[in-house]
């Protein structure tokens, strides 16, 4: 299992010609593929690109779209952009925290949900704005939060 992941990472790296200047693109692909950046894979990237491990870590933690922790099956992103903030975004985030029993940045113990506070998602007209695995939810008020979470269960990923 781990071996296949490492091989996959090698493939990605090769695809970018093992070019240091494209390390960010490599991390992005890994993030897209595994939904987070596992430690072993970061080590591999450092080794293959001839970069100090610290440098790769710094990159993995500097950008907010990267996560070094696994994300849940349903990644709930609550917009904390300015428009959403003034339209009650923080209260909506707290409502999600209460509903799921976790804090922003955490995942539920069963790995089903993770909750993130993000910067502007570009849908300010629909503030407060929430996405669940990229699926948009517009004008989410605190009283709608439990319904929004409930929509996830109808959209369970097909068993593979």
């Amino acid at each position: 299992m781990e071996q296949t992941k490492l091989e996959r990472v090698d493939e990605i790296i090769d695809c970018y010609g093992a070019d240091k200047a494209l390390s960010l693109a490599v991390l992005q692909e890994i993030q897209t593929e595994y939904n987070y950046l596992p430690r072993e894979l970061l080590e591999r990237v450092a080794e293959r690109l001839g970069l100090p491990e610290g440098e790769v870590y710094r990159m993995a933690t500097f950008y907010h779209s990267f996560s070094t922790k696994p994300r849940g099956d349903f990644c709930i992103r609550v917009c904390m952009g300015t428009a959403c903030h003034v339209n009650g975004g923080p209260r909506v985030l707290e409502a999600f925290e209460r509903e799921l029993g976790i804090k922003a940045g955490e995942s539920t113990p069963d790995g089903a949900y993770s909750l993130e506070a993000t910067a502007c998602l570009g849908a300010c007209a629909q503030a407060p704005y929430v996405t669940i695995n990229e699926e948009p939810h517009a004008k989410v008020t605190t009283d709608r939060v439990s319904d929004v979470v409930a929509t996830c269960n109808c959209a369970l990923p097909e068993a593979e």
Binding site: T82, C120, A123, C124
Partner: protein, 596 residues
Amino acid sequence: MNTSKTQKHRADLLVSCVHDRAPDLIPALEAEVKRRGLEGEVKVVEAGCRGFCSMGPVLLIQPDGTFYVNVQPADVPEMVEETLVKGRVVERMTYQEPSSHACALYEDISFYSKQHRIVLRNCGMLNPASVEEYIAVGGYEAVGKALFDMTPEGVIEEVKKAGLRGRGGAGFAAARKWETGRKAEGDIKYVLANGDEGDPNCFMDRALMEADPHSILEGMIIGAYAMDAHQGYIYIPYEHTLSVKTMRNAIESARAYGLIGEDILGSGFDFEVEVRVGAHSFVGGESTALMHAIEGTVSEPRPKHIHTTEVGLWGKPTCLNNVKTWNLVPEIIGKGAEWFASIGTEKSTGTQVFSLAGKINNVGLAEVPMGTTIRELIFDVGGGIPNGREFKAIQIGGPSGGAVPASLLDMPMDYETLEEAGSMMGTGGVVVLDDRSCVIDVARYFLDFLKDQSCGKCSSCREGIRYMLEMLTNITEGKGKMSDLEVLERMGKSVKISSMCGLGKSVPNPVLSTLRHFRDEYVAHIEDHKCPAGVCKALIEHYINDQCNGCGLCLRKCPQDAITGEKKELHTIDAEKCIQCGVCFDVCRFDAVGVR
């Protein structure tokens, strides 16, 4: 804009905002057009953003100019039958001006009629995936003019006469930058487009790249010619998938027309350009940080003792401009410097694109001449404040900017005037605050955002943000002291002076500007333990007024079981149990929940 592309058809249906919000709309329109046998006469175009975000998806029918808002797939059969077959307007789908009546025609809608769209000239007007449509509206003519009729110096001179200032925030004169770049020693030079857009409330650069990618490319080609650069990069965060895709597609289709690559249009001038995908961060939009990202290291700023126009990307002379700055170049070359300079004010020429958000009716992108007053932007173009509430302030320029209060509504917006008022044009992000928005909460919000965005190199920036954030948090929690205000002011000033990059230099703006214009609100928080806007949780209280008819909805929804009351009788909130979560406020249909 009646272009040659529309001539072949009786009507063009230009559909905007479909990407995220209505992926089914285009197929529905196409199917209905086909079913009614109108394929030869009517063309459905997936156009880019038209900037009217609060009304999307929107549909413009050209050439007659009928404009529909909030268009849903279910509306399609009726719309096709009535408008395309019978030539009648579907009243219920038209836009309703907040002040008056329904508006069926695009040009009558005050959101558009009061704008002056230069940057956004093609946005929503054509198919961004088609270079032919861009060419049909006169696109790439300016490249021809520059390459064949003008010297590089002539191009720079024209841009200088136009008074073009960079649209990325600082308003630096574009021609000055290009001139230094041109004169800099070096066999290799670069031109870069900044598509980072890290301001947490702006979406115009993204909208532009997605709606009119060729205008940016065209500007870059002209700029490269002026600077004698042969390689360009467009930097876009990978989160903006559609921008990346649209720009890449545009490069390839321009190449197919000989507009990118070797010997452009047979002029002997070579230019290559590539999209470089970064990751989102606010400081990543700063020039040296952006260059670091293109080089493949973490996007942190470096000191700029030597200008990047001389020593930039990979140590070579580099000219970086915002995507909007590039987009304006073809218009200036095409229509002339005088035309451009005649718009706006003497020192701030041309127009500015504002993204309007927050407590405003017309959320979206609006472009107006520089020097337009705040009142005109917010009330004429923006349609005023929703729910009849009172205008309190605009926060302009994002986290680097500041709040401008209602007393300055008639102030013209240009680079200098805004700065004098303690704010900043920045990228043109405008967040409208009404009497239910707390300015201290907003200032605190920006600091909270920025604490994770500071790269941490300068202790003044890193520690200054933390310290000011702590103080503001205390104030919003009712734990502030009057002496804090003086400390905040001093500290803000010193962080400004001692930080290296533009982030640190502007970090204190939201705090300083609110201290200047809204001192009484600070005092209310500190001395009276009140948040006049009813926002800061530690200082407010939810209560139920006599509008309550005892429907029981809030009682069932309250997560704390803090609400009691018999059915059909006035309910009450137990202040001890209440956590001020606001669910009762949101759920009540009778305006019976208040905040004090």
